[in-house]
Symmetry: C2
Amino acid sequence: MAKKTYNIGVEATLDVISGKWKPQLLCHLSVRPQRTCDLRQELPEISQKVLTQQLRELMDDGIVQRQVYGDRAPFKVVYTLTTMGRSLGTVLVQMSIWGEHHVDELRESGVSDVRVQNDHAGFEHLLQAN
Amino acid sequence: MAKKTYNIGVEATLDVISGKWKPQLLCHLSVRPQRTCDLRQELPEISQKVLTQQLRELMDDGIVQRQVYGDRAPFKVVYTLTTMGRSLGTVLVQMSIWGEHHVDELRESGVSDVRVQNDHAGFEHLLQAN
DNA sequence: CAGAATCCTTCATGATACTG
DNA sequence: CAGTATCATGAAGGATTCTG
């Protein structure tokens, strides 16, 4: 059984959502449950291996649930957010808003040229539901 | 000038606060401005090099400000949160609370043995001020 | 369709020694 | 006191191939 001690809660949260593709995965899953092939289509650049890896980690953290349909290949595998996963909604929306704001500040003050493509609306499905 | 594009705001925020020591640094700086030697004392395990590195990154992101006192060695260097840094308060507190809750759930359900040493009160200085 | 197995590259962090 | 410079290492992510 995994054993770990964090200094502060932020670190625990970071451990869950940090990962190159996790924010995007969570965003897509917040809209609706998704099959593996759906996710691969929405994130064409992710490799098979890493997709499985990041989903496994989210499962181990109780954020995502995996369901298999079919008794032999080809299988249908669906990933769904758990209640715990949906409870991330507020945090994700707040982080998105702050991030968008921060990026605007940096660009407007000429410090760096950074942008955010999609706004926090992607997560807002999570706000009323839970 | 640095150029970067994020898919969603969460990623921008993660880029700012992800780093092995950044949450703790932000926590200590949220209490009051700190000298380099103060930070080294509160985080005895951080190496000189990494401390400077993480502070530089926070400065580049406009989160922390650096002030030097004295015209020759030994210098006195003080790090302070900027307005932008203090605006992280709400996000950090929410992330901490969610992280504490999540860790409790995992432990209570027997999935893993994880803990959080200090609670989110460490950041609460930031909530009223800004 | 989903995923396991291998091998490889890159980057964050760390240990150590040195300087104004 | 604060910081730079080097070198080392481990983990995350990626490319490719194979299987039920």
